[in-house]
Amino acid sequence: MEVLKIATAGSVDDGKSTLIGRLLYDTKSLTSDQLEAIEKTSKMKGYDYLDFSLATDGLVAEREQGITIDVAHIYFSTKTKSYIIADTPGHVEYTRNMVTGASTSQAAIILIDARKGVIEQTNRHFFINNLLRVKEVVVAVNKMDLVDFSEDIYNSIKSDFESLMSKRDYKEQNITFIPVSALKGDNVVNRSESMTWYKGETLLEHLEAIENEDIYNVGTPRFPVQYVIRPKTDEFHDFRGYAGKVYGGELNVGDEIVALPSQIKSKIKDIYFHKEVYQTASRRSSVTITLEDDINVSRGDMLVKVEELPSTEKQFTATISWMDGRKFTSGNKYVIQHGVNKALAKVDTIHHKIHPDYSGIDSGVETLVMNDIASVTFKLNKPIFFDAFKDHRTNGSFILIDSQSNNTVGAGFIQ
């Protein structure tokens, strides 16, 4: 069964939770006890409709304030696909949650309130999904019922959004517009009877048609070694297997590889998945690889094909998303986690801050605060093996860890 991860983005009151609730309801994914709870609470609050947002707003604080404050994961499936929706909050101050949600998603839904049109928040949502190179973006123009299902209003919002699109870096992103009413159920799962002028797919039809092969960014194969398996049993006395996940492309038995950082060459002897052996380790599979030669490889090392070396540098420039309450300043030191590899990083230069609403950059910036996005050069204590983020979504990204708090304080995308 294919799994599609979707991030949602919208401002407060754009009806994001209602849209997700509607998707669950119309695909019959809500169970009778969930539905019962929604009916009960809606009635208690005096609503004359079902408040589907109650299906997703999980934490007590959220129910009290009526807002979503953290990424929640919602699951439903159809006959063809399993869906995981990362419901991310829309307020300005929670950019970090949106970056987080987009990082694990292959598709995004950006909500626009038809009464308000494209607002500054919309720019941010689009900017972040483009920065994170999310392949499929659906722009759902919601609350169409409150603008009399007007085609003109929909078209004018669409053209406003299209002028944003010319500013994007990642041009290969697929963008689809759909007019919906989450509250009334128009064009979410079921076709709208009030918008016969719209001839395109409903939201669910569109999601169902997305081909998995199209949404995973393809690159060169990278195999970061997670763990070395040495059973030391009689049966597997000399077994030395490298456990890890294959990213970007595939690896085959017999491939000539080079281990980084040692630069020692060898060939892939066997590819194991549990007790089975395979000819090819495909993208995204967690396998165990053995090599022809007995070379020293440990966690954090990387196996790559000889003719496809990544950059191996102690310095690089990246776009970073700062996620912590403490300030980010030149000279600060962090632990950098690049895949399963770690190094110490020092902030060398903050080049400029990037306004995530396409309104330009600020040069001469000394410090960054939470939710800032900036172009930064780091110096490391040892080389890491990376690709540019635009060429390799996995091998071009990293997180920053504060060595005092141990918290994840930022994410970076190597330029």
């Binding site: 007590v60 049993t233 998945f273 007790k275 000819q279 599979s285």
Partner: protein
Amino acid sequence: MNRDTSNINPLEHEAIYIFREVAAQFEKPVLLFSGGKDSITLVRLAQKAFYPAKIPFPLMHIDTGHNFPETIEFRDRLVAELGLELIVRNVQDSINEGKVKEESGKYASRNSLQTVTLLDAIEEFKFDACVGGARRDEEKARAKERIFSVRDDFGQWDEKNQRPELFDMLNGQIELGQNVRVFPISNWTELDVWSYIRKENIEIPSIYFSHTRATFLRDGLIWSADDDVVYREEDEVVEERLVRFRTVGDMSCTAAVLSEAGDIDTVVQEIRESTISERGARIDDKRSEAAMEKRKQQGYF
């Protein structure tokens, strides 16, 4: 030899990746094993992650003393067959030591008492990572849980201050005294688990399948009357019913469902068509809208 691994189950490969991160990033991990289908699935995934080596950490069961006997028998057999190390810590001991007080009355359960025994065991063995079978689809507070979820010295969950998890990267850096709860099957649904059990031919305790049991009705739920564990009032009539259990928690808080599903195929079919959520038969969640969130803040698994 098989051609390639392209026809993979992405959830299985994600879980194996997580298990390997646990083994690599922590010094003393443990797999929390309840004898339920989710933790049995975890054991299979861990075997796959480290083959041909053995699972490089022990299993631990926090025994409420109110488990279904079938589950305990099953647990001991599985551990013996796979040659795994099993640690058992008992809620009864915590009660005897006066650390927790047994609940009384109609809705008495030892479920929430487990927390104290669990936290004591974590401290006793100095575990820095506890792998569990919780899934985000189970409950609304769990939907916000991270894959690596940091707990403080008191085992508490600070839901507002969780580490962001980006791409595949799991940050397991902690201070001495803290520990991380790890949830490799976070992204699985109940149906995903059952489909996996079927595909992998994994053995599970018999109470998951339809059987005749002495039961009584309360609040629309079916309770086991086979033993003294579940409190029953005199006017609550015992009747034989054909039932099975969807979750295998503490007997005092796990209700049965009417079912004729006698094998794995019919169980999968039943789940597919079910309109009641898995935890709908767990009275511990019904106590209030925020029941799970409150228990988690206190260190519940």
